[in-house]
């Protein structure tokens, strides 16, 4: 788990990156959308 001992910390690490990807993907999909 990326060298992280606890699953909770591993999950937080992954969720940080996943949340950012969500922002990027959602933002790009609505790049010119006014809805």
């Amino acid at each position: 788990m990326l060298g992280l001992e606890g699953f909770g910390v591993f999950l937080a690490y992954v969720l940080c990156i996943a949340s950012t990807l969500l922002c990027v993907v959602y933002g790009v999909a609505r790049w010119n959308s006014d809805e």
């Binding site: 060298g3 001992e5 922002c23 959602y26 933002g27 010119n32």
Partner: protein
């Protein structure tokens, strides 16, 4: 100090003032001053949002906390990105912008009061901002002044005055446009500084997985006092139900992570966006920016233990513990790590990053306080001409400067740090359910929202004065009235006041709304014009 660094700081200040000047040149009306005319693009707004969000104390203080408590604090970073950026931009921000435009609102208190036709909400929100935010601003200002004192070797008193005046000048003249332009520069510096910090740290410690593994291997070095509180190593969650677990989960994740949604100085950014199209762009920049800030802070803070253990044979806490008193000063961990672990040239970049972080947060605070004073001015003198709005807001910025300086000199640092967390908590407890109802629940009534705001504030006050150990002990109200420092036992004395206050606010808002008359349909149609998917309730009676 390298003369080159002085040159860089001067250059940075010159560019900052030039951007403030650009803001001033384009500020001709009260709407320009309050919400940058509602014509700013998504990149600038999201950089400004992020730079305001992250202050020097968020970098130094939370970095130090991560060094002590470990990477479980990454939950806060994940929430900052998901709630503070994704939910804020994709769900709340768009509606704040549209509704603000529909109602001609230029400040957060004005938006809430026009949505619910309530002078009480207007005055209450403006008063909280005008009275409590100067304490938060004082905390940020002290952080900036300490930086100037240490780095430029100037006397602290002068550092405090000069730093506050520098920021107030470009807010006074440039309004929100000046704030956003300078924030964008400061945000770019912060982004570069923090990305370089993360990369250099992983490189210094041998790569991502080796660095994490090395940190995991240190778990036997957790101090006994922390282990007793539930610390299970720097790459593991605290033991479930332990004191530390409640601290990480309730204070950090709920209190700070969710509390950010109802911050007036952030909400106003959405009203500055020039169109709904800008939200997509803002999300991309905002998400990456906050990951680079908070993600870096917690990872680097925790990993500093590996560096100190390899070079000095001690964990980070031991490095900053006063040999006489035995008390650690966790605010010293990040600066110590930067100066010992990283190349000399980066020390300068990081100093500029901290200066930019302090200035970008303080400028928005001055602006929010100034515009709240303008709100109060119109509440007291409802007939005053609209053109006077900009003058009133500028006078408010000067008052903000004076109040912040006064507090910065008079109050002990412990109270100021506490006031910052109380400001976050009080904003969330009072305004978060009200804001969500304003944007998503047409059935919410004026009485319901006032009940939500009042019950949230009272519950928060009760928790802070009587239940939550940290604040109750300092304020001493429970001791004076009831003869004991706080009235609850574990875990209630540790759980963040927001965990109780937020549901209290939600219950008050919903219960009273359901038994009171809905707002007139025509008013609701006006509020929700251009906002789809909302059923306007028929007014009964």
């Amino acid at each position: 100090m390298d003369p080159l660094f002085y040159l860089v700081v001067i250059l940075y200040l010159v560019v900052t003032f030039y951007l403030g000047y650009l803001g001033w040149r384009h500020t001709r009306s009260a709407a320009d001053y309050m919400v940058a005319g509602g014509r700013v693009n998504g990149f600038l707004v999201s950089l400004s949002y992020g730079a305001t969000f992250i202050s020097t104390s968020a970098i130094v203080g939370f970095g130090g906390a991560a060094a002590a408590y470990g990477m479980s604090m990454l939950w806060l970073a994940a929430l900052n990105i998901f709630v503070g950026i994704f939910i804020a931009f994709a769900f709340l921000g768009k509606r704040i912008r549209t509704m603000g435009a529909n109602l001609g609102a230029h400040t957060f208190p004005e938006l809430m009061s026009r949505r619910f036709n309530s002078r009480f909400i207007h005055g209450y929100a403006a008063l909280i901002i005008a009275l409590v935010m100067p304490l938060y601003a004082a905390a940020v200002m002290i952080g900036g002044a300490r930086f100037l004192e240490q780095v430029l070797k100037v006397e602290y008193t002068w550092a405090l005055v000069v730093f506050a005046i520098l920021v107030a000048v470009y807010v006074f003249f440039g309004g929100l446009r000046g704030v956003i332009y300078t924030d964008a520069l400061q945000g770019a510096i912060m982004f570069a500084g923090m990305v370089i910090l993360l990369v250099l740290t992983y490189v210094r410690l041998g790569g991502v997985i080796p660095a994490h593994t090395a940190l995991s291997d240190l778990k036997d070095l957790v101090p006994a006092a922390l282990a007793a509180k539930g610390h299970a190593g720097w790459t593991a969650m605290p033991l479930p139900g332990s004191e530390l677990w409640w601290y990480v989960v309730s204070t950090l994740v709920l209190g700070v992570g969710i509390g950010v949604l109802a911050q007036p100085q952030l909400a106003v950014r959405f009203m500055a966006l020039r169109s709904g199209r800008e939200f997509g762009r803002g999300l991309v920049v905002g998400g990456i920016f906050i990951l680079a800030m908070t993600g870096t802070v917690y990872v680097v803070g925790a990993l500093s233990n590996v560096f100190f253990h390899r070079t000095a044979g001690k964990i980070a806490l031991a490095m900053v513990t006063d040999p006489v008193t035995g008390t650690p000063n966790i605010d010293r961990i990040i600066p110590l790590y930067i100066s010992q672990a990283l190349p000399h040239w980066f020390v300068y970049i990081f100093m500029l990053t901290l200066l930019a972080a302090a200035m970008s947060t303080l400028s928005s605070q001055f602006h929010a306080i100034g515009t709240s004073v303008r709100d109060l001015y119109y509440l007291v003198l409802p007939g005053a001409p609209r053109e006077q709005g900009m003058v009133a807001a500028r006078a408010g910025v000067l008052l903000a400067l004076a109040a912040t300086l006064y507090l910065g000199f008079r109050l002990p640092v412990s109270i100021i740090a506490l006031a910052t967390s109380i400001f976050f908590g009080l904003c969330a407890a009072s305004f978060l359910p009200a804001l969500v109802a304003a944007l998503y629940w047409p059935r919410a009534t004026r009485g319901g929202v006032i009940a939500g705001i009042v019950s949230g504030s009272l519950a928060y006050g009760f928790m802070v004065f009587f239940v939550h150990q940290k604040e109750a002990v300092i304020f001493g109200v429970a001791q004076a009235l009831l003869g004991k420092p706080y009235i609850a036992s574990f875990p209630w004395n540790i759980i963040d006041p927001l965990v109780v206050a937020l549901p209290a606010s939600v219950v008050g808002l919903i219960a009273v709304s359901l038994v009171s008359r809905a707002l007139p349909q025509e008013h609701l149609r006006e509020c929700f014009r251009g906002i789809g998917g909302v059923g306007i309730p028929v007014r009964d009676g």
